[in-house]
Assembly symmetry: C2
Homo-oligomer: 353 residues x 2
Amino acid sequence: MSGRGKRVTLQTIADRVGVSRATVSYAFSRPDQLSEKLRAEILKVAGELGYAGPDATARSLRLRRAGALGLLFTETLNYAFGDPYSIGLLQGMAAAVEDAGVGLLILPLLTGDGHAETVRGAVVDGFCVYSLPDGHPALEEVLRRGLPAVAVDEPYLPGYPLIGIDEMAAAGDAARHVLGLGHRRLGVIITGLYHQARTGWADVERQERGPFQARRTRIAGYRAAAEGAGIDWAGVPVYEVVRNTRESGREAAHELLRREPRPTAVLTVTDRLALGVLDAAADLGLRVPEDLSVVGFSDSEAAQGGLTTIRQPKEEIGKTAGRLLLSGRPLPEERLVMPYELVVRASTGPAGG
Amino acid sequence: MSGRGKRVTLQTIADRVGVSRATVSYAFSRPDQLSEKLRAEILKVAGELGYAGPDATARSLRLRRAGALGLLFTETLNYAFGDPYSIGLLQGMAAAVEDAGVGLLILPLLTGDGHAETVRGAVVDGFCVYSLPDGHPALEEVLRRGLPAVAVDEPYLPGYPLIGIDEMAAAGDAARHVLGLGHRRLGVIITGLYHQARTGWADVERQERGPFQARRTRIAGYRAAAEGAGIDWAGVPVYEVVRNTRESGREAAHELLRREPRPTAVLTVTDRLALGVLDAAADLGLRVPEDLSVVGFSDSEAAQGGLTTIRQPKEEIGKTAGRLLLSGRPLPEERLVMPYELVVRASTGPAGG
DNA sequence: TTGTATGCGTTATCAA
DNA sequence: TTGATAACGCATACAA
């Protein structure tokens, strides 16, 4: 029908109908600006010509709005979509974009140098960056774009809002909970502290130097609480794993629980790792919480294992980020601290059981 | 610094440096096309002026490429992101877009008439529609755009590829599995047959009329297998629930298991529902599989409950969809049938236990 | 109610 | 190596 030839545009239709381009534009975008009859005629011809409708990109250019929010993940999307916390965030942002009738553009951020292109080419009205390490090259590009931008969890970008919980206080509460139960021999399992993670014991310096602010702070919260209880942090074994998986948690826990004296409480930075600790306890015939207390973080999958954990309002965080970006109002320039909650379940109990 | 005044564009920089717009464009997009010195000068001035970089939308318009794939969900995103099968699909598509260095634009499709606008405004190079009911208004809009498009699972769009498993055969295999174990008193739990779902018994006519092709076919597959074994389908109780949740499955199962004679095998259309059936069995003190066999569909969460189910290669399906759209080659115009697998676990056993 | 003219910001072509 | 010009396809102020 219309396969060959030039592309069908407003002009094509205008020529055919014998009206101006503007009139055809009105027929599609401002129906009330022209007579019903002419409009019908125009739409009919457009149909015959196989017109695809006003071009989305051209329209965006003219209207100066993209109709989408960009979301930057540092992880591969495959991983991100497998992580309950990320999913919760996504659900929250989704709710916000749904309400506003715009789309959500997910931007993968992987290897070396594609970053710049990815960020530069994104047709969006604003960016949300999620869990990026300090100094990640994509950050620079995002800021350069000059669009509204918010960060979730990390990193803090001077002059831009950062949405998340008070990691320091939350981790502190979690640690003080087990300390309050009388535990003195702690073990810690961490991940995601470095972009290029490792498996093995992490000394204090390594704990303090990682580029992921939130993770760093979380660990610092554990440490501060422990030291507040008179525990020498240098003596607390901290095991680092590469992947945030249940299996990694299990393996790490085996390392931790093989030590003498054996820790009586294990703190982790995610629920998945904590579930793995439960697995290890089962492997070793240790009772939870009589022989071992376990604490997670995020309350994403925690209920399954009866885990004590910190509940983060992930959907709320995502929704807030989305709304902020879509509000059209000037963005706050500081942290937006969201509430968290220490949820005590059956995985923690008094020491010396 | 540069807050007021006109927007900074290539021209602004060109004027300031005293070169042409094209040269400035080269400085950003084709570094090898101009002298290192001039380029440095241009970038320096751009920095001073706070230039945001080549505008993504203008660039898209000019280059005729959006750098993104659109994904249309019928459900609210909040639901979609909570569904393991959808997530798997998303992961697959994500892998494809990652490889190609483009983004994934998630398009919410909700209430009444926003559909057209959402689809029309999407700045994308192609569309993937997922699980849309026959005749959904968004479909028309997608086709009108004239971009590459593929459907996943449903619906079939004449002239476009449809990616999914052979639902009829898969459901048939699942049903024949329990029939082969000697079961004759079947019960079925379905959902997602209609956009406006209901809770209650669904007669044959209702089963056949729903607008969701894949679901319809899945049930038809059960039916064909049952009839092939000499069972009168009109006598098989089919219970429909609104939401695909474990709790709904449990409630439906209670309805089903209260019947006399009690079904000895329950077929469902999702794993979540099937897990709910296990819950109901536990409520009633029924042993699985001795007293009751249960079959799921999708193998998303099935392993948790030791469910017998159909495994769908969801990541593979998503990846295939993405790659097809990004290949630049003409799309196949028919079904792309992906392999499935009947996974037999502990939830099914011989009848008459 | 309809048409004219212009600009949105970029890149490709071609000539210098 | 750089510049002038012409698209890309649309929407809007303004004039008719």
